[in-house]
Subunit: 659 residues, 2 copies
């Protein structure tokens, strides 16, 4: 039921006032978007969005994503006005100040109701695709009584111009995610000025070409907005609603120009806007009637929430649903038996194959997982355990053919993980983390359990050559805070890494896996759970310990071969498998010094950049690596050429002693 228009106008003006005042107080920020989209957002939050401000974590709430994250004051205003516990008005007063949850861009880890962190353009909409996927999957698993919600997005021209938009809407159109609706702030303005400066695209035609339903509305006419939203809800395709708006609407001298985009309006213009808007209240003051109207909009959502709770209480699948939404693994989930079977019957396989073997077990035990690949299914070995495809015709499937859309895949995985109820994993070649690095970073920042299955992790990829051979990637990913980069050495370590990744609820993981076969280096059944400390001693020195070899992944067996040769020459050498530098760095000093004793010659071996390994090998260590681009040739030839053989390495170690 709609309020009368005059009261709706004041509700929208409350957003405008909070936005311009907060940006002014912070002396930085973006007033233009919240002011331009205030009317659309008011209709959405008061009449369409299914949510319960008193229970922001309600599993069956509609998801709202502000993809144009720079307009963060829009969502802060909406959450405050509609009655969420946070942000408080004090939080809003402290917009963009240290300690306020009202950060420059919305951060999912600072505020309930902020479904995802946005700001890096295009990614919000692409994450929303993942949320819509998760919704359909859980609907298929649990039925419409329990899971039946929509995903709403507000996006700007920037979100639509970014390349990821093409990938995201291609995926959404193909999967017919009809419960996803994008409200495009169609204001013809970007930071640099008019959109004419840089684009001539017919955006609506492009969306239609990609399988979307498209409509448009006057973004300042409540009835027209409602008409467009009704139309979008009725269509079974995902919908784009082009909301024609005036950026900075209400600021009489600056509206409609890029001057309102990313800078405070200034006191004078704000005064003028107050007059135009008929808003004669002080900054951060909301009149009683407006607040009452806003708070009243929560009632229908609360009623729906209550009904849902009753349905869930009587549903036999409740426990499983709640476990999945909480992100917990089933109590009986364990890879121990599988790992013990490997101990008994060692295998020589590529770690990408070992990952597939682990996934066979995981996917059979864990209904939560949803796999996929950016068109490298057979190479990434990601389709395992008999899981079927997730398609427009069958949302019960658990495998997504993402197409050649690495960035779109990674962002969708973030959205799925943020939605909850599913654990997404997806693959491509490790070198193409460069295509989706911005989304991997957002996995880490948002603390999502997205699991990246990144295969062909070095020059061991071979013939495809330098464009496809990671050199700097493993090490440079290790620099992203809160990201577990794991490079297992064999099938046992691969299974342990999968176990760690699945149990890390608040952290994404990158599994760096080989194309080429690797011997199994772990054969002692009593040595379990070795990877969880990041690094461990795989082989003790036989002779008096002189050398510590630190290697990861495919270079661990090489380190063992070097150690064997050194021992023959009377030099005691231990081998440490550095599976995950992040986890190792988190161990206490005693453990770290015990693993890598400072009184030994410390040597790193990894088929990638040496930069950074000095952290572990110290000043007088030796760093065996590759500080150039690779080349096209069979893997064996490349390892030989670039010196990754015991014959090439051992003499360097012996020389180091002499030197």
């Amino acid at each position: 039921m709609s309020l009368d228009t005059a009261r709706m106008v004041q509700m929208a003006n409350a957003i405008r006032a909070l936005s311009m005042d907060a940006v002014q107080a912070a002396n930085s920020g973006h007033p233009g978007m919240p002011m331009g989209m205030a009317d659309v957002a008011t209709v959405l939050f008061s009449e369409y969005l299914k949510h319960d401000p008193s229970a922001p974590d309600w599993a069956d709430r509609d998801r709202f994503v502000l993809s144009a994250g720079h307009g963060s004051m829009l969502v802060y205003s909406l959450l405050h006005l509609s009655g969420y516990a946070h942000p408080t008005m004090d939080d809003i007063r402290n917009f963009r100040q240290l300690g306020s949850p009202c950060a420059g861009h919305p951060e999912n880890f600072l505020l309930d109701g902020v479904e995802c962190t946005t700001g890096p353009l295009g990614q919000g909409l692409a994450m929303a695709v993942g949320m819509a996927i998760a919704e359909r999957k859980l609907n298929a698993d649990f039925g419409s009584d329990i899971v039946d919600h929509k995903t709403w997005v507000i996006a700007g021209d920037g979100c639509l111009m970014e390349g990821i938009n093409h990938e995201a809407i291609g995926l959404a159109g193909h999967l017919k995610l009809g419960r996803m609706n994008v409200l495009w702030d169609d204001n013809n303005i970007t930071i640099d000025g008019s959109t004419d400066l840089s684009t001539s695209e017919d955006i609506k035609a492009r969306y239609e070409a990609t399988g979307w339903h498209v409509t448009s509305c006057d973004g300042h006419d409540f009835d027209d907005i409602r008409r467009a939203m009704d139309e979008a809800q009725a269509d079974d395709r995902p919908s784009l609603i082009a909301c024609r708006t005036v950026i900075g609407k209400g600021a009489p001298n600056k509206q409609g120009t890029s001057a309102t985009h990313g800078a405070p309006l200034g006191d004078e213009e704000i005064s003028a806007a107050r007059e135009v808007l008929g808003w004669d209240h002080k900054p951060f003051e909301i009149p009683e009637q407006v607040l009452t109207d806003w708070r009243g909009t929560a009632e229908s959502g609360q009623a729906e929430h209550k009904g849902w709770q009753d349905r869930l209480a009587n549903d036999g699948r409740r426990a499983d649903f709640e476990r999945r939404m909480a992100g917990d693994l089933p109590e009986k989930f364990s890879l121990d038996n599988y790992i013990q079977s490997l101990m008994k019957d060692p295998v020589k396989v590529a770690t990408r194959k070992a990952s597939e073997m682990a996934l066979e077990k995981i996917n059979a035990m864990l209904p939560d997982t949803m796999g996929g690949s950016a068109d490298l299914t057979g190479s990434n070995n990601t389709k395992a355990g008999g899981i079927g495809p997730f398609t427009a015709d069958d949302y019960s499937g658990r495998y997504i053919y993402y197409g050649i859309r690495e960035f779109g895949m990674a962002a969708a995985m973030n959205g799925m993980a943020l939605h909850g109820g599913v654990i997404p994993y997806g693959g491509t070649f490790l070198v193409f983390t460069d295509y989706c690095r911005a989304a991997i970073r957002l996995s880490a920042l948002q603390q999502t359990r997205a699991i990246y299955v990144m295969t062909h992790d070095s020059i061991g990829l071979g013939e495809d050559g330098p464009t496809h051979q990671p050199v700097e990637h493993v090490q440079s990913l290790r620099m992203i805070p809160n990201l577990l980069v794991m490079r297992p050495a064999d099938a046992v370590e691969t299974a342990e890494c999968w176990d760690i990744a699945l149990r890390s609820k608040d952290r994404p993981a990158v599994l760096a896996l080989t194309r080429q076969g690797l011997p199994q280096v772990r054969n002692h059944p009593e040595e379990t759970d070795m990877c969880s400390k990041g690094a461990y001693r795989l082989k003790k020195a036989g002779n008096a310990p002189k050398v510590t070899l630190i290697a990861s992944g495919s270079e661990v067996h090489l380190a063992l071969a070097c150690a064997e040769e050194l021992e023959k020459q009377g030099v005691g050498a231990s081998v440490v498998s550095m599976v995950c530098t992040q986890l190792f760095d988190e161990q206490d000093e005693a453990y770290r010094k015990d693993m890598i004793p400072a009184d030994t010659l410390r040597i790193s071996i990894e088929a990638g950049t040496t930069f950074g390994w000095e952290r572990y090998t110290g000043e007088n260590g030796l760093n065996i690596g590759l500080d150039r681009f690779g080349a096209s040739a069979p893997a064996g030839d490349l390892f030989e050429k670039f010196g990754f053989t015991a014959d090439a390495i051992v003499p360097q170690i012996i020389n180091k002693f002499k030197g």
Copy 2:
């Protein structure tokens, strides 16, 4: 003039035979695309492409980009057959082997005629946009007698599905680059299988919506191919030609399936293909008539080349044109006067502003530069020196409004640099190197002089918060081989870095620049060209040298403040400005040890990850940095919070001595 169809068929079959045989010999590779596109490519190379195989570096040649780089045997076949000196048949026999220029993917630095390195999907087409931009710019500068060529692209479904395709074609459509024609290998197959698995897009409609001319043809009908190419050439918009092909055409049992995409056909299927194709020649044998026909196609291009040489010889702009195409700077180009003026009148400015000041001078002296920004012109300070916009209406402009297309911008810059005659620079926020990292890597691999103006290079960005604050970026970019990452400390260093970047013909550069103002630390007129060694001693120790402070960019003045305080306490402290680790690492050991003496306590200060700094600070050094994501607050508050003040740092240093 066309040859008769039967002979054209054999010319195309020569490509098919070489491709399937070379892939078989290598036991890896992609035969499907070259076999499917053999007919289209034969028409293109024999009748349309303006080139002279005896002079692959002819400036006015058409550019040909094989964007679907995995089909590399197509371009190797074409170059060999049409008479380029390389690849030889021996090179082709050694496809994908160590030392052969016929790498798994085409590498511009291995073969003339390979205009750019492709394989990372979508980037070839996007680089072609840059080539087409450079062509129009040089045409505007030098006239149609000297510069008048086309850009041709062969792209596959993958290139079109990648996000960068949206950015690239949006830019090309907006700029009306009508001399660019894309031949799309429309075969409905990707690695995972049918394109139906992952996409439902109407690609032609999408291109039309983006301002492109679209036509289609039967990719196995020479006349229809010619008709479509004629139509494309006649249209003043960029053109997409959808070439309906059968992947692996000629392999009777596997054609039309993903089995031909990325694996050898096998001896049996190759035999069967030989029969179907009527190709009864041994592997790597080309019959005389076919070779004669192919070599004959070079004549018209050679004649055109001769005519062009005559025109150029008589053109008054010849010297300037040749200088620009050679990539040399004018002899009189120098920033020395400008730098000396800074020495006289020091400025306190952000280095992004200092970059603008340098560009004012550079753009005035150097007609080669073409600037731009991904919709952050006012923030990146990239529009300087009075250069006007490059638009569809005026190709003489030197500033490109790239729109919100970081990846498309970076790829276009690569294409412009590869084309030659222009020196591209472009800006965005440093954190968004993540959006274009895959193209920056290709700048480095391809040895192109693309200059990235990356501003807002740390938490000094302030209120926009962690999504916009680089933490790991500077350090992780330093790991890319052949990339100069430069982080200048003030206006003088910024000018020196610009000078280095412009003079590095074979290397891309990233300039990491501040949002916030920085005091000028370089005031000694006699100290010139200090940045070229990567790092230098900015301040000598006063007391007996005990401490070496190594800092970059905005932390250099902080290091100076720390040194001052240390000296007050009687501790001799020198300060090294680490402008560019790559250049520093290239210096001899004596210089490096002199700058950073091992008998001092070595301390790094950089507002980013500490990982990797151990290379310079050794085992017992101190690494001041930020190993977490940032936060949203004014910059000063953040530097304070995260300990980037002399008050926070000096006690740590003193403690280190005690410890």
